[in-house]
Amino acid sequence: MLELQGVEVRYGQAIAVAGIGLHVSPGAWVALIGPNGAGKTSLLRAAVGLVHHRGQVRLDGEDLSSLPPWERQRRGIGYVPEGRQVFPQMTVEENLRVGAYTRRLAEVADALDMVFVLFPRLKERRTQAASTLSGGEQQMLALGRALMTRPRLLLVDEISWGLMPILVEQVFARLAELHRDGLAILQIEQNAREVLRHADHAYVMSAGELVLDGPARELAADPRVIESYMG
């Protein structure tokens, strides 16, 4: 479904992503783990079109490399950015409506219901400004907003960062539901133990390059992974 080939991201002279190729099959849950500064976020930002990159980003065979983010969204890529990047001065419902910006009006109500069923908290707070939500709620909102775009592939960046363990469990439970319904997921996660339990496949990234990849179950048992990321 998603295919990255030779993706390279540079900031001035610094190379953040040094020619990476990976792929996500339809309906698969793929984890991307690695230390801070490995270039994981840059790789995801390249995939959604937020940073200029070399190489190819393909979705179902179509080359998206020269398309801006809003065109990639239209083709089915949803993005949950790192660090709760909601629209702070909008209400919860308005945030979700921005997610449905490109959808027909008739579909928006259904989409809202779907997100409110998944996250009852958001329904309770629908008229509250997003900036007044707790960290966990903002993370739910960012995920809900991405779902409003009706993605076929969801790119998720450090969704559990800073969340209490019980919330981490909830977020993963929601992702698992979505995955069961056929959504493909590419997820960056510092909680390697948790993500490797859920994902089908995993890549390990370090210093801008892929250093390992394989079935998530196998990587979870790999001593190099255990030592570096699950200690």
């Binding site: 959604v48 079109g49 937020l50 801006p68 983010p69 809003w70 990639r72 969204q73 239209r74 890529i77 949803g78 993005y79 950015p81 990047q85 909601v86 629209f87 702070p88 001065q89 909008m90 308005e94 409506r97 921005v98 997610g99 910006y101 490109t102 907003r145 991405a146 409003m148 775009t149």
Partner: protein, 287 residues
């Protein structure tokens, strides 16, 4: 009593014009993160366009309102597409210099095209309304009503429509707006066109109650910048409240002291705000 009323009306009229001008500055800054020094030239454009309609085609200056809006919006689209879209994302100072250059260019073109003469006309609403001893010109009243209508319509568009939702999203988080499917390039163009159209429509009103010169808009926008900082950069409601406040203060000051004091007071006010509340009256402190 009648004096107070008179000063109030004067203040509301100049505050209303300032408000429409500031609305555009705030909209452009909010959505594009561009400080548009050339905003005043769109006001001047509307003023000259209206003057031409009245003096050459013998139309009512009220016709100038929609004509100026459309003209301003069209010129805005061209300026945004040809000049500004190519420099967005560059360092702020670069973009600032570009809009400053556009302003200088506009000033020069107006001076070349129309000369430095004071242009005015007598057509349009005239006569006075005597309210409790205060003399209120129908022209001033027309201007005030038009300003209220234009600001109200703009706020409605921003708060209640899908387009407005997109523009607010863009102002609050650019990347997230783009990944939610909002076409950032198109949205910026629309915002700039809307703001430029509003400015030109304000220019039509300026030509109605004052005289039109090549720098009439330039002068108004200097106060509009004060108002935008007063209200909080990029805050639409802040800009409107700031404009009314400054209009009223200037109205009183120019009566009590002298006209030339009113701008000095504006900048004194600005200085105090920057010292005491740098995020502006309605702005949010930087996180």
């Amino acid at each position: 009593m009648s004096l107070a009323l008179q000063l109030l009306v004067n203040g509301l009229v100049s505050g209303g014009l300032l408000g429409v001008a500031a609305l555009g500055v705030a909209l452009i800054f909010g959505v594009m993160r561009v400080v548009n020094f050339a905003h005043g030239e769109f006001i001047t454009l509307g003023a000259y366009a209206t003057w031409l309609l009245v003096s050459q085609l013998h139309l009512s200056p009220l016709v100038g309102l929609p004509v100026a809006f459309v003209l301003g919006a069209l010129v805005g689209v061209v300026v945004q597409a040809v000049v500004l879209a190519r420099v967005t994302g560059r360092p702020e100072l670069d973009v600032l210099m570009v809009t400053y250059a556009l302003s200088v260019l506009g000033l020069g073109l107006f001076a070349q095209g129309f000369g430095g003469d004071f242009r005015s006309y007598s057509q349009g609403p005239h006569g006075n309304l005597d309210v409790a001893g205060a003399i209120i010109g129908w022209r001033s009243l027309t201007v005030l009503l038009a300003c209220v209508a234009m600001s109200g319509a703009t706020v409605l568009v921003i708060q209640r429509t899908r387009l407005g939702l997109g523009l607010r999203a863009l102002a609050q988080n650019r990347d997230s707006a783009a990944t939610c499917g909002i076409n950032v390039v198109a949205a910026e163009r629309i915002a700039f066109a809307l703001a430029s159209g509003l400015a030109a429509a304000a220019g039509c009103l300026v030509s109605m109650i004052g005289t039109t010169t090549p720098n009439v808009g330039h002068d108004l926008v200097l106060d509009a910048f004060v108002v935008v900082i007063l209200g909080g950069m990029g805050s639409i409601s802040g800009a409107l409240v700031g404009a009314l406040a400054l209009g009223l203060v200037q109205s009183v000051v120019s009566y009590a002291l002298d006209d030339s004091w009113s701008r000095m007071v504006a900048y004194l006010l600005l200085y105090c705000i920057i010292l005491l509340r740098p995020q502006g009256l309605f702005g949010r402190a930087a996180a």
